[in-house]
Amino acid sequence: MSILLAHFKSNGKEEFITQEKGGIRKESENKGFKNLELIENRNEFIVDVFNGGKIEGDGVFDFRYGPVSGIGEAGVFHLYTYGERILSVKIDTFYKRRKLDEKMIGMDVNDALKIAERVSGNFSVSHSLAFSRAIEKAMKVEVDDKTKRVRAIALELERIYNHIHVISKLASDAAQLVLASHLSELFEDSLCVNEIFSGSRYLRDFVTLGGVTKVPSDKALNSVLKEIEKNKKSFTKLYKNSMTSRNYIDRLHSTAILSARDAAMIGLTGPSLRACNVKEDLRIKDDIYKDLKIVTDEEGDALSRMEVRAKEILESMEFVENNVKKINSKETDRMTLQGKGDGLGWCESPSGAIIYSIGVEDSKIKVLHVSTPSVFGMAAMAHSIVGNIFTDFPFALDSFGVNFADAAR
C-alpha cells in the first residue's frame, strides 16, 4: 500500500511523493489519497483525516492545552470533549511556524543546509542527510562507501538518543520514577557519546554536502565503542526489568490503538507504523543495512510503539558497534558540488520518513519542498486518541515521538 508523504505542483503538474516497500516514488496521479488536505493545511493546523477535527453536540466544548503550559512546546491541542472522553482533536501548529522552508529558497546550498539542520534540532542528522542526498542527486554525485557508513552511524546514534528520550517520557508519564530516572541518565549518556563521536551533543554540523565535516579519530571511535557497549548493557537490563512491571504495561497496553490501514491512510511512517505490523523502513534497500533486523509489533497501541522503539535501540547499538569497527580515521575525499538539476532525497529519521525535493540552479535553491514525519505522527495521534480519556493523552502524544518544531518547520 503506497503512503502519500508530499504533494505539490511543479511546472503546472501535480506531483505526489509516496513511500512503498522501502522506497520513495514520484507519482503523477491521485490514487484517492485521504491525507491531501492534511498536507495542504499543515502550516496552520493538523486534524484527524477521518473526521475533519471539529465535532459539535450537546455539552461538547473545546479544552485547550498550550501554548505555554501542559506540553512543553509552543503549540496548541484542542481537545473536543463533554468531559473525560476525548471526541476529537485539532492541533494548532502556527505558533511555532518559523518559515524555515520558505527561507531556504534562494539561498546558497551550504547555507541552506545549516537551516535544514535547525528545522528540528533532535533530527539534525536526518534532516541534513535527506537534504544532502537531494542536492547530491540533483548534481549527480555519488558519495563513497566510507562516507555512507560514517553517516549511517551518526543517523543510528541519533535514533538511539531519540528513542531513549521517548521511552523515558513514557515511563515518567506512567509514574515509573525509578525507570524514568535511569532512562534520563542514559539519555544524557548517549548525548555524551554523540559529543565524543562528532564534537556536538546533537550531531550538528556533521553531515555536509558530499561528505562529512570530520571523520572521528581512532581514539574517539574506541571510546564510542566502549560507551555504547556500556549503554547497551544497562538499557537491556532496564528494558527487561521494566517489562516485568504490571503497572507500567497496563498503563500503555491498549492505549491509543491504531490499525495498519488507518495508519497508512494518514501517512504515518517510522517506528509507529512498524508497531502496526507493517514492515516498512527506508533503510532496507540500503546495502550498509543488510544485517539490520526490521522490528515490528502487532497491536498498534502505545505499548507496541514503546516495544518497537526499545528493540530498535538495541538493533541500532549493535549496528553502531559493528560499523565503528569497519571504519578508520583517515579523512575521506570531499566532493565539490556544482551544476543544476532536481533531486529527491530521503532518510529514515527516528520518527519516520523525511523527504526533501529540491531544484538547484547556480548553487542556489530554486524550489524546495519538505515532508516531515511529525505532521503525520500528530495526525495519527489525533485519530488514535478518539474514544480514550484525558489521562491517556500524554501516552498517546509521547508514544509517537513527535514535536512541533518538526511539524511546523
Binding site: V68, A74, G121
Partner: protein, 154 residues
C-alpha cells in the same frame, strides 16, 4: 546491599564537576533569590534542542534538586522564567502574558538558541531580565547560570 547515598556522599561523586559559563548575570546585591529557585520554562520557538537540554538538565546526572532548584508546574509558582529560543510572531503575546503571571520578585533568563529566525528577545523590553545566553548552551552551562542567579556561586 549498597548504601549508594552514603557511598556517593563520601566519594563526592557529584561534586567533582565544575559548572562554568561565561554569561553575565545581573542580580542585585540584596539577592532576590535566596539559595533556592523554582523555575518555569517556556518555549517560544526554539529548534527543540533547548527543550532537550532542559530535559537533560533535569536528569539525575546533574541532580539539580540538591541545589534547591525545582521546576514549577505553573508560572504563578515560579521565581525564574526561562525563555527558550527567539520568539516567533505568534508567541510574543503568550510570552508577555506569562511574564505578567509571575509573582514578585521574579527574574527572566533568556536562552536565545541558534539561528536568526524570530525576534531577539532582548528587543521586547521584558522586565527583570537577569541573564541572557547566546546559542544552545549545554546543561552544565545552564546550571552554572542558575547557580549564579540563586546566589550559590559568584
Amino acid at each position: 546491599m549498597n548504601w549508594w547515598p552514603v557511598i556517593g556522599m563520601s566519594k563526592m561523586l557529584t561534586e567533582d564537576k565544575k559548572y562554568e559559563s561565561k554569561a553575565r548575570v545581573r542580580v542585585k546585591k540584596m539577592k532576590e533569590f535566596k539559595r533556592s529557585l523554582n523555575i518555569y520554562t517556556i518555549d517560544v520557538g526554539n529548534c527543540n534542542i533547548l527543550n532537550f537540554e532542559m530535559q537533560a538538565l533535569k536528569s539525575p546526572k546533574y541532580n539539580i534538586h540538591r541545589f534547591g532548584i525545582y521546576s514549577a508546574a505553573s508560572p504563578r509558582h515560579a521565581d525564574l522564567l526561562i525563555v527558550l529560543g527567539k520568539p516567533t510572531d505568534e508567541m510574543i503575546e503568550p510570552l508577555r502574558c506569562t511574564v505578567n503571571q509571575l509573582p514578585e520578585p521574579f527574574g527572566l533568563l533568556l536562552i536565545k538558541g541558534c539561528g536568526d529566525d524570530g525576534i531577539d528577545p532582548n528587543e521586547l523590553k521584558l522586565p527583570n531580565v537577569v541573564a541572557s545566553m547566546d546559542g544552545c548552551p549545554s546543561p552544565s552551562e545552564i546550571l552554572a547560570v542558575l547557580l549564579k542567579i540563586s546566589g550559590r556561586s559568584d
